[in-house]
Every structure is written in structure tokens, then in C-alpha cells.
Amino acid sequence: MKFAVLVFPGSNCDIDCYKAVEETLGEPVDYVWHTATDLSAYDCILVPGGFSYGDYLRCGAISRFAPVMSEVAKAAEQGKYILGICNGFQILTEAGLLPGALLRNTSMKFLCHDTVLKVANNRTPFTTDFSENEEIVIPIAHGEGNYYCDEETLARLQENNQIVFTYSSNPNGSVLDIAGICNERGNVVGMMPHPERAVNSLLGSEDGKRMFTSILKAWRDTHGAASVR
């Protein structure tokens, strides 16, 4: 299974994502610059955190027009796995690949600490290695992680089981304590917490590992590959 980690000017969690794939899965992974125009070689695309384009105008507003983003839309359409983390989540909402938007934290503070998340949906390709309603520890690091969508969209998210993670204790004011959501099909996930920063007990938690193992398992299930590390 081949992973791409997108790199925008101002991304700063790209190395963490790369290392998480390398060390957790041992599968091939490449950095892919935002000017790339072909992602056909990749099975999973990670849109990492950071401050792409300095968060100018709005977080993710400029990155979403990077050439690589039309390829990401194409990959989403093809059912490939796409995971946007933090700024990556903001970019995916700006691009319209996920509904809603991320607003300023209600506290107006940049928050950087561990959070307890509840796995609200363990049937996405990204979460099968968790049990339903399991509580996991994943850190956040954001100033604009306050998830917002209108009532109608929210009802649709609930109806289609698109809420993937919720906070046990809401840090940022997001509606229904939402920490992560997926698209209707389930192949595109966006989340504010950083699973790539929780892949080793030395980092305080290794709960994030299971997101990566889930993705690999999902891919193997559809591609009949047998090798296990």
C-alpha cells in the first residue's frame, strides 16, 4: 500500500505523518509537493497539519486551490483513502470534500494538549481497529478547531453516521463535541486531533497507531494483499 503525505508551504506535521506511516506500518510513503498533478500511484493521501500559506485569509483557503488539490478530489471520487489532520481537515472543508467549517476556538486560545476522544464510528476504513465508543488519547494543537455546520448538515452527519470522533471534554466549542468527521462514503476523514503524534508510548500515547493499522487493513481487505508486518 502506498501513502502520499502532501506538503504545502507552511505544513509542519508532514514529517510526523511520514514517520508514523514508516514506523507503524513499514509501507512505502512519499512526500508530495503541493504542485504535483498526479496522485495515481497512491492508495492513501495524508493531508498534514501546519499553517499552510500562513493561514492567510482563512485556514486552508489558499491551499485548497493548489494544483494537487484537484488530484485529491479525483482520488476521493475514486474511493481512495484521504485523511486530513488539523490544517489538513481545514483544507478538506475549504475544498468542499468535507462539509462544515472550522472556526476560532471559543476560548480564543491556541490549545496544545492531550484530549480524550470517543470513537463514535468504528466502521470507517480509518477506525476499524478501535471498538465502538472506545475512549482514546490523542493530542490537539490548534487555534481554529471549533467545528461548525448548519442544523441541516448536522442532521445529515448524524443520520449517515459521519461523526467519527467526539471530544469527551469539548476544548474548542465545536458543535456536538465533534473532533472528526467523514464524507458520506466514508473514504475521506478530517479530524483536528493528531493521531500521527500518538504512535509511541514515548510520545504519551500510542492510540493513534490504530488509525494507520485500520487504513492498511481496509486496503488489504479490498486488494487481497497478505503481507503483514
Binding site: N146, C149, D150
Partner: protein, 81 residues
């Protein structure tokens, strides 16, 4: 040349934490009469065109595509020149 002025504001019903904080600061300074404060963005664009209809149509497209996120923001614009 034409000048477009674009105002982007947070939709009514969407919480504006920045506005709430600034309103709180004004209250603590004694400006108790401030019953609401919303922070938005103001943008000035110089356009290389004299065709008003075309300018209007293109500024609207700019707002829809980039300058505002219509999920959470409203926009309005003025054209001069």
C-alpha cells in the same frame, strides 16, 4: 480602473469568539452600551477594467470562490470608478 471594496462578515447565528472578546473588553472599559460586536474583513481591490457589469460578475465569483467561505460568512461589495 475600478475599485472594488469587499466586506466579509461572519453569518448571524455563527458565534464570533473574537467579537465576543472585544465586546467584553469594551464593557470592562466602561462602554456598556455595546450590545453586540462582530468582527469582519475589509478588502480593497483595484481592477484593470472599465466594464462595470463584467467587474461585478467577476468580483462576485471571487467572493464565492475565495474571499468568503459561504458556509460561515456573508459578503457584500461596492464598485467605484
Amino acid at each position: 480602473m475600478m475599485k472594488a471594496t469587499v466586506y466579509v462578515t461572519i453569518k448571524q447565528g455563527v458565534l464570533d469568539p473574537q467579537g465576543v472578546a472585544v465586546q467584553g473588553a469594551l464593557h470592562s472599559m466602561g462602554f456598556e452600551e455595546v450590545s453586540s460586536l462582530r468582527i469582519g474583513k475589509y478588502m480593497e481591490l483595484q481592477l484593470d477594467t472599465n466594464d462595470r457589469a463584467e467587474a461585478e460578475q467577476r468580483v462576485k465569483a471571487m467572493c464565492e470562490k475565495l474571499l468568503a467561505n459561504t458556509v460561515v460568512e456573508d459578503y457584500r461589495y461596492e464598485l467605484e470608478g
